[in-house]
Symmetry: D2
Subunit: 370 residues, 4 copies
């Protein structure tokens, strides 16, 4: 800090000189690094800075949902945090345009030296995935390694700051996903949280869903004489089957009975919240679900846009660090969905007049009105 | 037109009243159409208006490249047109955000009535694909129909304005792709357009490419002890094989000998133009190639973003008109690449010092200098 | 509508052919209109389509706030509508980039013929301003006319569809601004809506505000020895004076006593809502205020970006229709603020620990908690 | 650098840990800094990183134009650099949205401590202005200081890294503006660079300009009977006067005769390049002029968007460091135009058929054609 000033200066507060001295490349000497490579380093640094903000913010969001009960008011705070993260990812997705100002030749001029360094060594991206709750079995091995942690180790197997970041995050407790699903699993469905109520709502919903599919096959089939009616029927039948499988939790056999029950409840809650948003007490929960969904979408877009930048600049060649390059990136954009249930629910929802009518809507009013 | 004014008015020039009377929905009566549906109709109308502009502009670009020779000066005009189309697609890609302001429930409220109407009936999108030169065998059948033209017919098989648009476009002559590739096939490679020169350049390039792949296997392999060295070697070997297959035209057996020769030449020209952009006469050709590439990328982004909007709003359910919905849209984003060779070249390019040295670089200078 | 199909087709639903026939320019003949002019017409048509959506949506928002009381739940619906309008204006602001693909020469080629037609003849922009509640005295005369209605008349003074739109809007009742301010004027301040309570809160706030200004003069003054301490003191004193003038309604002398009281109350409510957002019942009101503010910002950005496009394409020349061109557009971006009080409040707000403490915070809790 | 690995790791290359340790705020202790303040610090750090890239890139552009002659081929390289800077500023303009996720209260929580630190202490923004060539007399005093350098000094008047950056930049030689205008002043006008040729072209252009203004007064005046014909005539007369003043250099009396001659030539060259872009040799010069213009526009948008963010978050209160806040920022957006002549030319240009016809267009062809 500079002495003699009564207040702090911009350059001390922002740490400008320290910050601008970190683009020294492979040899610790910026005079040997060209503009294109400084650009490449800098954009990655900017991503890391954004990721840090997002991680801090999502730690707070997770803390909200680890409370039981979650205070009503905290929902609006959580939404603000989630939306801030959305804005950051939307902004960050455009940074690939700056990287695309590199031509293939510009990038190749320094790329070979980067053997061994690759974006999948970004510890903060891994932290973010862990914090959100990405399931390990979804992860794609990028370069033949046993685990994503392998590529964060030293050559001799020793630890690194990157690995330590990831381990700290893993040790920090349940993910946001897990906390969010727990909160959903406590939501009263039509006024009650007992298992029978949840099942009654689910059954009514599934019956209406199947009836609607039947109607759509009939009307679509007749309107489109050219198409294969069998194909259409099979498509709708698959939708009906999927709805059953999801709401009855047929994919959850590996979990304990209690975990299965909670997950079925949380899935029913998602259907319930999205289907009855005109009920005052469901307004903020719906905002939370929406903001979470939008955040995941923003991250998917960022990942996919990354793949497009790489494809444009250097095509489909082998990635640095030996990864699959564009194919690896495209696969992460497609598979890395943390909030799978939120996506699935969108496929099931029914239009307003087909959703089950409620026995106790007044339970979702506020006791005082405007 | 209003009478009595000496000049034309804004509302007559823009045709405001006619324009604002076209959102009448299924029954020709706007009073029966809610805000959400008017939004849905309007966004599609806006897309059609943008498409019209793009088609007009690309007709002009195609006309430039159907000349032989193409005047040097026309290249900058063509670039301006291509960049305008890029801007339009970039802007249009954001319109999906407006559609995403519909919740699932909002959209379902009017969606069922749309059975039979689907975005794949947009004749202008088909026109655009035809004009650019999308190959028919890449097309994905969306609903079991025999051809994309089927869904543009009346129920009784009769013609429609949509089908007529497509037929007119098909009859309008060679595509932009075909004209562009023809122009590329006339580019002198290292000062000469004869087949031997082209082959000499290609062979030198392939030799350098193979040597580089070998070096990268060695350095990457040793730097990343954790990964499967065999996997890496196979990946690089596939790159070398692909480069040979591409530049030697092994995928072109179905074409006439002359067509094969031309296509090999145009591919060599792409490598040549991208590899030697410091030569003055290659500056504008490189801009043309780049602008075309960027346009295709912008269209891919628009298509993929469409898929994300649908997935977010209604999930992975059966599409209107019985199409595959999100899966169909994702498949078009992945497969519908018109300028395949431009993409492939990005995978092959070598860094500057590895590209073959030229015997006659002075052929690519201007005769007068600044 | 096409016959014979059981469902409606895309081209009938979207009215594609009608829509694409409206770019016929001055002479009703598209073959005489070049690409650049079609682009110019089309972008304006797209704006008109967006405006129509915004007007429909804001009619609904106004209807929410014309209720007394406004149901709590309706606030989330109103926010959704407001945010949709924000998205539309954000998207529309980027359309100027498409127009900027015109060079000066491109635009001049057809501009002279447009004498008499000008964007300030857009009736829907006027409707939007009326619906929101732009005060007439803020309006800038663009071309020496007596009123903005003059330029919507026929040469012989007769009415036009444009003028009729505006008259209908004027006759449609109180503006959104007026309805919103009325709702704010009913907000209980620290548990009570009587005038004394409002004044007590206001006085406490102003006292804290003045004390803070004094502290800031002292600390800033000493930290920045180079600057004119008098200048700084005057700046802060002006802030204190402005806060008094605003919250005590010194600018409202032209209104009735009752109107003055209501407006002071609504201003106090804005300070109150923004200062105590941790109170559950203030969460949605704060979202409403924020969404309204953001909408106005989005419109300001759209207007200012319009000015930049004009300045870039044709510089600061006289506008079509004889308007002031860029200067006129810049002036509208600067002056046309409908929700003046929302902007002013941002200048006054104090940090959390300086806001008056509340006597009855429990009045703003929900009676039931999660 | 980590030992034992054969290649470098991502975290060493990107300097992740060093980078993420710089958000420690006033007291050098991140644990005392909340999310909102970390966000505030981080966004400013990201701006500084972008500025560094822009400065490096523009140093290269300037170097191109300090050559005499400027090699033709270098123009395309300069355009690529300029466009990269445009992309960076476009991306950066959106970062204000992230800052806008702060509410007034969030920001006020830490703002008072920043007394003494202000964005106008960003040395790199000053470097950028100096490198581009912002004229000192355009600068706005933000807080009563004698010069913008004052606020970069220590309290005791001593030097700082910020001041040293600015001094180094000032010592680095002529600005890009000056180099660009020198290059323009060497452009042959209709085949000749002598003063008489330049004057002949200018005179012909001005005559055509005046005739056109006369025609427009006549047609506009009669078309708009409502408006003040005198007002319109005055507006057009001012345009004619301004055109004369500009092309005859009446504002340049303070310069040497030789400097005046050069500047008149460079202005004529701008008119010439923009008016005859169909001439092959003028295609790249026009791209350079356009890219420079677009860069300035992108910077103006970034500055203005900054003002809007501040106005939204904290209103029009006194800025940190005692500056004028929003008013200061708005004034910089309006006044800080480096390439004044490029803007002015847009106001003068005539449509194609009104520009003077050329005696020697063939001088602007290439000697070889496609």
């Amino acid at each position: 800090m500079s002495q003699g000033r009564k207040g702090i200066s911009y350059w001390d507060y922002i740490r400008v000189e320290d910050l601008l001295s970190l683009q020294t490349g492979l040899h610790g000497d910026e005079s040997r690094v060209g503009n294109d490579e400084v650009l490449f380093i800098t954009v990655h640094q900017i991503f890391e800075l954004w990721f840090k903000l997002v991680i801090r913010e999502l730690e707070d969001v997770r803390a909200v949902f680890r409370q039981n009960p979650v205070p009503d008011q905290a929902l609006s705070t959580a939404c603000r945090s989630l939306r801030r993260c959305v804005t950051i990812f939307e902004v960050a997705a455009d940074h690939w345009k700056v990287v695309e100002s590199l031509t293939t030749r510009d990038y190749l001029a320094f790329r070979d030296q980067l053997v061994g360094a690759s974006g999948f060594q970004s510890a903060q991206i891994r932290q973010l995935e862990i914090l959100l709750g990405l399931e390990d079995e979804l992860r794609i091995r990028c370069a033949g390694e046993a685990s994503y942690k392998e590529v964060l180790k030293r050559h001799d197997g020793g630890t690194t700051p990157a690995l330590e970041r990831v381990e700290r995050q893993l040790a920090s407790g349940p993910s946001f996903r897990s906390s969010l699903y727990d909160w959903l699993a406590r939501t009263p469905i039509d006024g009650s949280s007992d298992e029978a109520s949840v099942k009654a709502y689910t059954d009514a919903f599934l019956a209406s869903h199947a009836a609607q599919a039947k109607r759509l096959v009939e009307s679509s089939g007749s309107a489109l004489p050219e198409m294969d009616r069998d194909l259409l029927e099979k498509r709708y039948q698959r939708e009906v089957d999927n709805a059953h499988a999801f709401l009855e939790g047929r994919d959850l056999a590996h979990l304990s009975d209690e975990e299965q029950r909670k997950r079925r409840h949380s899935r029913a809650a998602l259907v319930f919240i999205e289907s009855h948003r005109e009920l005052p007490r469901l307004a903020w929960p719906r905002e939370v679900v929406e903001a979470t969904h939008v955040l995941e979408q923003a991250m998917v877009i960022w990942r996919w846009r990354h793949a497009r930048m790489v494809e444009r600049v250097i095509g489909r060649r082998v990635g640095t660090g030996g990864s699959g390059g564009v194919d690896y990136l495209d696969a992460t954009a497609q598979r890395y969905r943390v909030f799978d249930d939120l996506w699935t629910v969108r496929t099931l929802l029914l239009k307003s007049e087909l959703t089950p009518s409620l026995a106790r809507p007044e339970d979702y009013r506020f006791r005082i009105e405007d």
